[in-house]
C-alpha cells in the first residue's frame, strides 16, 4: 500500500431538462444561455471513488480539476465539499470553451499529471452533454499509461490495480500497473451528498487557476461544426384493424 497523489477530473457540463433543449437559430449549436452548469454525473462518481480511496488511506491526496470558464469553480467547490483536498481550475472561456473537445482536455490533463506527479487519473466515462467517451482513453494514450475504462469496481493491490469493467459481453476483470487512467461507469458507487460541515470546510480549500498556455497546451480545435439540427419530428402512429390492412399500408409506404 503505497501513498499516491490522485487527480480527479470534474467536467462541468450543461444540465438540460428534456423539453428545453433548443437548437440555435443559426444551426451552429444548442442554446446554452440560462442553462444550469453542473457536475457531470459520471465525474461525480469518479470523485466519490477518489474520496473513498483516500478514506481507506490507499491514496494521499485528491486534486479536483476542471476546464472551463469562471463557473467551473462552482463545480470544483462541489468536489471539494465531497472530500477532495484542493482544486485546479484551467481557465478556458468564450469561443475556446465552445470548441473545447476531448483532445484538448486530454492534452491539458496529461500536462497537469506530469506537473503534479500524479499516479492515478480518475474521470467519468463520458460527459452527458456531448457523449464523446474519448477523454480518458486519449489521456492514457498521450501519457502512455494503462487504462481501465467503464470501471464498475476498483481495488488497489500493492502498486497494481484490479478492475472490473462493464463491457457488452458482461464483466471483464483486468489488472493494470500504476500510474494509470480509470474512467468511472454508473455502478461504480453512489456519490455522497455533500454535508453542511464539509460544504463550509470546502470554502476554505484552495483552488488554483492556470491557463492552458501555462501548461504548454494549444486549445485550438481540429474540428469544425458545420450544422446542428433537431431530429425529425415524430409522426403520429396509425392503428389498423386487420393484418391485411397492415400489409397494404406497409406496401403503400414502400416499406415492403
Amino acid at each position: 500500500l503505497s501513498c499516491k497523489v490522485l487527480s480527479s477530473v470534474v467536467t462541468p457540463c450543461y444540465c438540460f431538462v428534456s423539453p428545453q433543449i433548443r437548437v440555435k437559430p443559426d444551426n451552429t449549436g444548442v442554446v446554452t444561455d440560462g442553462v444550469k452548469h453542473s457536475m457531470n454525473p459520471f465525474c461525480e462518481i469518479a470523485v466519490e471513488e477518489a474520496v473513498k480511496l483516500k478514506e481507506k488511506k490507499l491514496i494521499k491526496e485528491v486534486v479536483a480539476v476542471s476546464c472551463g470558464p469562471q463557473q467551473s469553480q462552482e463545480t470544483i467547490r462541489t468536489a471539494l465539499a465531497m472530500g477532495a483536498d484542493r482544486g485546479i481550475h484551467v481557465d478556458v472561456s468564450g469561443k475556446d470553451y465552445e470548441n473545447l473537445g476531448p483532445l484538448q482536455v486530454s492534452k491539458i490533463l496529461a500536462a497537469l499529471a506530469k506537473q503534479e506527479d500524479a499516479q492515478l487519473i480518475l474521470l467519468g466515462k463520458q460527459a452527458i452533454d456531448d457523449d464523446c467517451n474519448q477523454t480518458g482513453q486519449m489521456t492514457a494514450a498521450l501519457l502512455d499509461w494503462p487504462q481501465g475504462t467503464f470501471a464498475s469496481e476498483v481495488s488497489l493491490e500493492g502498486d497494481k490495480i484490479n478492475l472490473v469493467r462493464e463491457i457488452d459481453g458482461g464483466l471483464e476483470h483486468i489488472k493494470i500497473n500504476t500510474p494509470a487512467v480509470i474512467t468511472a461507469d454508473l455502478r461504480l458507487n453512489t456519490p455522497r451528498y455533500a454535508t453542511l460541515p464539509n460544504i463550509m470546510k470546502a470554502k476554505k480549500k484552495k483552488i488554483v487557476t492556470v491557463k492552458p498556455a501555462d501548461l504548454g497546451v494549444d486549445v485550438t480545435s481540429r474540428l469544425e461544426v458545420l450544422k446542428v439540427e433537431e431530429p425529425p419530428q415524430r409522426q403520429a402512429g396509425m392503428k389498423v384493424e386487420t393484418v391485411e390492412d397492415l400489409v397494404v399500408k406497409l406496401k403503400e409506404a414502400g416499406r415492403v
Partner: protein
Amino acid sequence: MTRDKITRSFQLHYKIKMLLKISNSSCCPTCFLQLVLPPVSTVMAGLLKRALRLRTALRCLCDYNMLSRSTATLSPVDFHSPFLTCSSEQVLASTRKLHAGADGSKVSPSAAPERLPFCRVTEEDLAFFRKILAGRTIVDPDLVEPSNVDWLKSVRGSSEVLLRPQTTEEVSQILSYCNSRNLAVNPQGGNTGLVGGSVPVYDEIILSTSLMNKILNFDSISGVLTCQAGCVLENLSFYLEERDYIMPLDLGAKGSCQIGGNVATNAGGLRLLRYGSLHGTVLGLELVLADGQVLDCLSTLRKDNTGYDLKQLFIGSEGTLGVITAVSILCPRKPKSVNVVFLGCETFEQLLKTFQLCKSMLGEILSAFEFLDSECMRLLNTHLKLPNPISDCPFYIVIETSGSDPTHDAQKLHNFLEEAMTSSLVSDGTVATEEAKIKALWSLRERVTEALTHDGFTYKYDISLPVERIYQLVTDMRKHLGNRAKSVVGYGHVGDGNLHLNVTSPSKDPALLAAIEPFVYEWTASCRGSISAEHGLGLKKRNYIYYSKQSQAVALMGNIKAMLDPKGILNPYKTLPDNLKHI
C-alpha cells in the same frame, strides 16, 4: 339556596331547555352533542342528562356568565379551561359513547350513512347519456371499478355508470337531466383525495372530468392561465415551465390530480407558504350548477370588486355546490434560482428556532418549509429504499428557496446555513442546486405518503395547529396508543402550521380507530385547531365539522347547499354533516 338546591334547579331547567332545543333544530348549545346521528334516541337522552349534570355541577363553581357565552365560542372539549379540569375522563367517556349506534353497536361517525332516496339508473337514462356522450358512457364494470375506489383503497362505491364529458355544454346537459330525474352525481377529477370525497358511496353516477383537459389560453404578460378542469397539474406545470412560469401550487399527487379537483378541495400543498392559497390565486371559474345552469365567472382580471365574489364559495366546496368546468389561475414566474436544503435537528424547539431564523434571513426567497420526523425516515429507508442523505436525527427539515438571482440567493443561503450551524440549531444538513439532486431531496418529503401505504393500513389525520404545539400531538398520540399501533409518524407543512399525523397498523383495526378517534379531534379542538387543514371533509370527516366550526356556521352552510342544490344530487353524503336537514 344551598349548593345542592342550585344544582338541582339548574339541572331541571337546562334539561328541559336542552331537550326542547334538540328536538326543534340542529342547533345545540353544547357542540359535542351534535356528533350524535339523528334521530334523538334514548341513548342520547341519557347522555344529555349526564352531560348536563356534569356541566351544571361545574358551573356552580364558576362564573354563571360563562353559560351565555357557550353558544358563541366554547370549543367542545376545552381541556384547559377551569370548567372541565376535574372531569376530562368523564367527558371522554361520554363522547366515546356518542359513537355508539341506536342498538348499542359501534358505528363510526365516518362511516357512510343510509342511502338517500335518489332514483336508480335505468336503460332510458343510459340511452340518453349515450346520445349526448357517444362512446364516453362507460358501464363495463372493469372500467368503472377504478373510479369506484379511492387512492388509499379505503372506501369503495358501487356506481355502475361512468360519464366522461369533453365540454361544459355536455356537463350542463348531464346535470340538467340528472336533476330532473333525481339521480345523484359524483364529480370526479384525478381521484387522489384522501377523505373519501372523490368516489361514490352508493350508486351515484360518476362524472369524470378526465377528458376535459384542454388548455384554453395563457397570457404571458399577466401570467394568467385558463384551462379546462380536467387538466392534470403536472401537465400544466410542464406547459408553464416552457413559457418560464410555474403553477402556484404543487403537491405530491401532481402526476394524477386535476386542477378542477384541486380547486374544489382548495388544495394546499408545498408552495402555499410562498404563493398563498387557491382562494387568492384563482381569478375565475366556470361552473355548472345542479340544475344544469352554466355559471360563467371565468374572469382573468386581477381586481374586480363588482358584487359578491361567487367563486370563493365554490373553491373548497368539494363538488357539493357545483361542478367546476374551467379555471383561470394566476401563475408566478419560474424562479431563476432554486435551492433545496435538507437539515437535521435534535429537538422540535430547535426546529422552530430554525424556522424563525429562516424567515428572518431568507424571508423573501423562502418558498417551502417542510418537516418530517425520524419515524418517517425509517419508513422511507425500509419500504422505498431511499437513503438518508445526512446523519440520523430526530427531525428533518426541507427548505426550498426560489429567487431571481442565483448569486444573491447563494449568498443569503450561505449566511443562513453558517448561522444555523454555528448556533447549533442544526446538527447536520446538505444542499442541492441541480435538478436531479433537488428532485431526490424533495422525494424524501413527497414520498412519505407512499411509504406509509407499504407499512400497513393507514389512519390519516391532517390537522392545523398553532405551530409551537404541532409535534406535541404526535408525542401525546404515541403515548396514548402505546403498542396498539405499528407506527405513529408526524410530518407536514410546519411553515403553515399543518401537521400530517399518520398511524399505521398491520390491518384495519376498529379498536385502534376507537383509541385514535375522538382523542385526536378533541386534542385539536382544545387548541382551536382545524381537524382538516387541507384535505377537506369528504365522506370520512363530514361529521367532525363541529370540532372546528360553530353550529350556526354549519347551519348556514346547509342553507346555501339547499339553495344551490335543492335535490341534493351533487356529491351527496359528503362534506356537510348528516344531522343537517335536507329539504
